[in-house]
């Protein structure tokens, strides 16, 4: 069984708004290299991929990333999680793709590396949150796609997926091959890789594929949306800080202010 997990490198979502700036020339955040991390839901997907492999005899995990050289960090991280192989796809023309174009290219990459029985992605990347790559890949590959998946259980010819639905959750049996988009849950909390594995990961190969290695549709490699303008939100509210340090006194002042709202 071949499991492919798609990993995106994103700007650290926890950067505090105070330090977050958009460069008006490029419409992109002003960042330094240290601000880039593996998308958190993709990391949940990676954890799940490794767990599934370890439970399934003969299974392998390939980590796949579309990105420039810098994004190899996320693949090294996957190798430190003991992924069996890492593939990076990149072309200089791909600086402004959207989720649909990424989905097309990743789908073709998966086809070119021999397909997969299980394809995992994060459910929405924490930078732009398009939430498109998984479903788009599924449509391209002709696979079914389940979104909001927290856990998977591999069976003979199908996979049991635990999915979050309106008002609760459901377990659904899905024929493989299939695409699953992963949410965080207590079962897929990313591990802390062992120091030994981190060291080993440094010398493992990362396969590089370029556009000429793939069978791509030129039209589908074009972004369907174009960012015309980006601007930082200013939602600052003038906060009335209640004066004082004594808890009891502050509680009294707060109670008065709350009662003034006349909503109780």
């Amino acid at each position: 069984m071949h499991i492919v997990v798609c990993l995106k490198q994103v700007i650290d979502p926890e950067i505090t708004p105070k330090y977050f700036k958009i460069d008006p020339e490029t419409n992109r955040p002003e960042i330094s290299d240290t601000d880039l991390v593996l998308d958190s839901f993709a990391e949940n997907a990676l954890e799940l991929a490794i767990q599934l492999r370890d439970k399934t005899p003969g299974a392998t995990v390939t980590a796949l990333c579309l990105g420039d050289e810098e994004s190899e960090d996320v693949l090294r991280r996957a190798l430190a999680f003991t992924a069996n192989a890492a593939v990076r796809v990149w072309d200089e023309d791909w600086g402004n793709l959207d989720g649909q174009a990424v989905g097309h290219i990743l789908a073709q990459t998966i086809a070119s590396i021999g397909g997969a029985q299980i394809v995992l992605t994060g459910y929405q990347a924490s930078d732009i949150e398009e939430g498109l790559v998984g479903p788009v890949m599924a449509e391209e590959l002709g696979f079914p796609c389940m979104t909001h998946v927290s856990d998977l259980d591999v069976e003979e010819k199908s996979v049991k997926a635990t999915i979050e639905v309106e008002g609760g959750y459901a377990v659904v049996s899905v024929p493989s091959p299939a695409v699953f988009t992963i949410i965080s849950s207590e079962t897929n909390v990313p591990r802390l890789p062992k120091v030994k594995d981190i060291r080993l990961a440094r010398s493992k190969p990362i396969v590089l594929l370029e556009s000429e290695d793939l069978t791509l549709d030129h039209e589908r490699c074009q972004a369907g949306v174009k960012l015309e303008r980006a601007y930082v939100m200013n939602r600052e509210v003038a906060c009335e800080i209640l004066p004082g340090n004594d808890g009891n006194d502050l509680a009294g002042k707060l109670a008065d202010r709350l009662l003034e709202l006349k909503i109780f």
């Binding site: 979502p13 926890e14 505090t16 977050f20 989720g99 649909q100 989905g103 930078d127 732009i128 949150e129 398009e130 939430g131 498109l132 479903p135 788009v136 599924a138 449509e139 391209e140 079914p144 796609c145 389940m146 979104t147 909001h148 639905v165 309106e166 008002g167 609760g168 959750y169 459901a170 377990v171 659904v172 024929p175 988009t181 965080s184 074009q222 369907g224 949306v225 174009k226 960012l227 015309e228 303008r229 980006a230 601007y231 939100m233 939602r235 600052e236 509210v237 906060c239 800080i241 209640l242 808890g247 009891n248 502050l250 509680a251 707060l254 109670a255 709350l258 709202l261 909503i263 109780f264």
Partner: protein
């Protein structure tokens, strides 16, 4: 002029809240661009939904009343909506980017060769050019996007639209579409569905929420918040940090990946105010922050701030309010 088709999904007795938002967004778009709104509703009771969609602004409401569509199945819904999208000649398909919408948007766009734009909260229409506005970078910024293809699938962010009531006097036409989904399209099988233990008050509907974060330092502190919430007729919420720590169940999470709430009063206790958390309270009317750190970003969103250890404030606050309210 734009031809707009809205997926008006039914849930329980009526249209889902997402469907209403999508229809209201569609109507707003239509009146700016001089277009008209049509809707599509699926399932044996589609006609009821169609009438509701008309009251929310659709002038033509398509239905596919096939009984196979009674329960949601992603393949059946993608095929059916795709067929109506094609037959209607619409160039803009609008749907709520709720759980179902997240299944559908990317697949429908790819199948129709349309652009896809998700988490949309607003649009701009200037000099005949239409652009879509959505939050980006965990709600730290807005992005304004144009599309490059003739058609576009638009996913509306949940709870981003002001809810207006329907207008039952509106007239429209209901058209049953000639499309027959078949059993063999279904590839997945439901094994079991488990309803989560329902909170007394749904966070989304709560008028008062007392929310706790990592600063609460454990499940015990949440009991205090619960007492205050009960007194005020509200409910308890939490940050992701508190949910991840296992202090409260994950269905109490407020924020980008949790519930998007719109209470009259939101009391954030021991919550720093990360943008992903604030994304869930954009529409809260009054926000109160109780936090030991005067620099915490929550004070930039709060209307009333208390810089203090919550342990010293919550109990006396509850006592004082109890005297007045009980």
């Amino acid at each position: 002029m734009s031809r707009i088709l809205v997926f008006a999904n039914q849930q329980g007795d009526g249209l889902s809240s997402g469907a209403k938002e999508a229809l209201l967004f569609g109507s707003r778009l239509a009146s700016s661009t001089g277009g008209e709104v049509r809707s599509v509703t699926l399932g044996p009771f589609a006609e009821v939904g169609a009438r509701e969609a008309i009251a929310y602004g659709a002038s033509i409401a398509y239905t596919i009343s096939n009984p196979l569509l009674a329960d949601y199945d992603v393949e059946l819904f993608v095929n059916s909506i795709h067929s109506v999208f094609q037959q209607s000649g619409a160039d803009i398909l609008i749907l709520s980017f709720d759980k179902m919408g997240k299944d559908l948007a990317g697949r429908l766009a790819t199948r129709t060769g349309a652009s896809a734009i998700t988490e949309v909260i607003d649009f701009n229409f200037n000099d005949d050019k239409l652009s879509w506005i959505r939050p980006i970078y965990g709600d730290k910024a807005f992005g304004e996007y144009s599309t490059t293809r003739q058609k576009v699938v638009v996913g509306i962010r949940q709870r981003s639209q002001n809810e207006e009531g329907p207008d039952a006097t509106r007239k429209g036409e209901i058209i049953e579409v000639d499309y027959t989904p078949t059993k063999d399209m279904i590839v997945t099988k439901l094994v079991v569905k488990i309803q989560a233990a329902l909170a007394d008050i749904r966070l989304e509907d709560a008028r008062i929420i007392v929310s706790g974060g990592r600063g609460i330092e454990g499940p015990e502190g949440f009991n205090e918040l619960q007492v205050l919430a009960n007194l005020l007729g509200g409910t308890v919420g939490a940050s992701r940090a508190a949910c991840d720590a296992g202090w409260v169940p994950s269905n109490l999470q407020v924020g980008q990946t949790g519930a998007v709430v719109a209470p009259d009063l939101y009391i954030a206790v021991g919550i720093s105010g990360a943008s992903q958390h604030l994304a869930g309270i954009t529409n809260a009317k009054t926000v109160v922050a109780i936090n030991t750190d005067p620099e915490a970003p929550i004070f930039k969103r709060a209307n009333i701030g208390v810089v203090a250890d919550y342990i010293k404030v919550i109990q006396p606050l509850t006592e004082k309010l109890k005297k007045v309210l009980v």
